[in-house]
Symmetry: C2
Subunit: 185 residues, 2 copies
């Protein structure tokens, strides 16, 4: 083949970025467990093996999508101006992107440890939490612990809500519940 049009064939330009976007779309639709490199490659119009020039393996692509999502989450959290809104923003992000949130929370243990850029993206969110939950009358260690507790409550609560273990009538009830838990954390 190799259509000799010259223009815009072969060299893709931004395969990495488009692959991440296509992967995210696929995950939104069918979950991250079902992600297939071949389908992503097809969606972008490229041989499936070409993705390996940009991602070491399937896991690396998933990590890249997750990383991007953590950055997006942090951006939304940045707009929150108080604790209540922080909780609402966090829960809102999770509930409106369930498949993506599932990906973020289920990265294999160890991925975080060996993927510095991913860990950095996660910490963007923690930083936002610190901005709102830290209090001057506490030591920085105490503040850090308090913030971790808040995040644990949100993360854990969302996971159990998604699993149906935490049975609450609807999403608003979840927000209310988590707000209360966080308030006296």
């Amino acid at each position: 083949m190799t259509s000799r049009t010259g223009r815009d064939t072969y060299r893709h330009g931004n395969l990495r970025g488009e692959a991440i976007a296509a992967a995210r779309a696929s995950i939104v639709e069918s979950g991250h467990e079902a992600l297939s490199l071949r389908r992503v490659a097809d969606a972008v119009g490229v041989a499936h093996r070409s993705l390996y020039n940009h991602f070491e393996d399937r896991e690396a692509l998933l990590d890249a999508v997750a990383e991007e999502a953590f950055v997006a989450l942090a951006a939304e959290l940045k707009a929150a101006t108080d604790a209540g809104r922080f909780v609402a923003a966090y829960v809102g992000f999770a509930l409106s992107n369930p498949a993506i949130f599932a990906l973020m929370t289920s990265r294999p243990h160890g991925a975080m440890k060996k993927r510095p850029s991913l860990q950095r993206a996660v910490h963007l969110g923690i930083t936002e939490a610190l901005r709102l939950f830290a209090r001057p009358d506490r030591s920085s260690a105490e503040n850090r612990r308090a913030v971790m507790k808040v995040i644990i409550l949100l993360q854990g609560g969302l996971a159990m809500y998604a699993d149906g273990i935490l049975d609450l009538p609807d999403d608003e009830a979840l927000v209310a519940e988590l707000r209360a838990m966080v308030a006296d954390a």
Copy 2:
């Protein structure tokens, strides 16, 4: 083939149970993502397709292993005589069976909802928590919320510890941290 020895061939006796055991062993060694029906079948000495007589699909096998693990967890929790020991037992179980615990917490959202026996197994643990954390001066609804908070803290804390986000020096520190968090929950 069909060696005509008559004795102890063909009918397996307890394929389901042995398959679950073999699957658990495989998960302990290589994680649940890597579980292969064929390897399980080989380990038990059976055609891979035979497993489908006992499990609808791969997910069902994973769910069965998870269910068994939840029952085992509840059994260990039953021995706890106070809140501190409860936390220690919970964390101890998670840390000494990391691969199994990862399986338990990462069942696809929805598995719980449509698998009643699995959900029942989960509630065994919740019942144990209620036994220790409920207080007579609180309404049953309040007690239920308090207990859920405890479980959320444990579950979420363990997940974040495993991911390396919650950076603590060692397992004892984690137990101490979670005990403190749960204490003033």
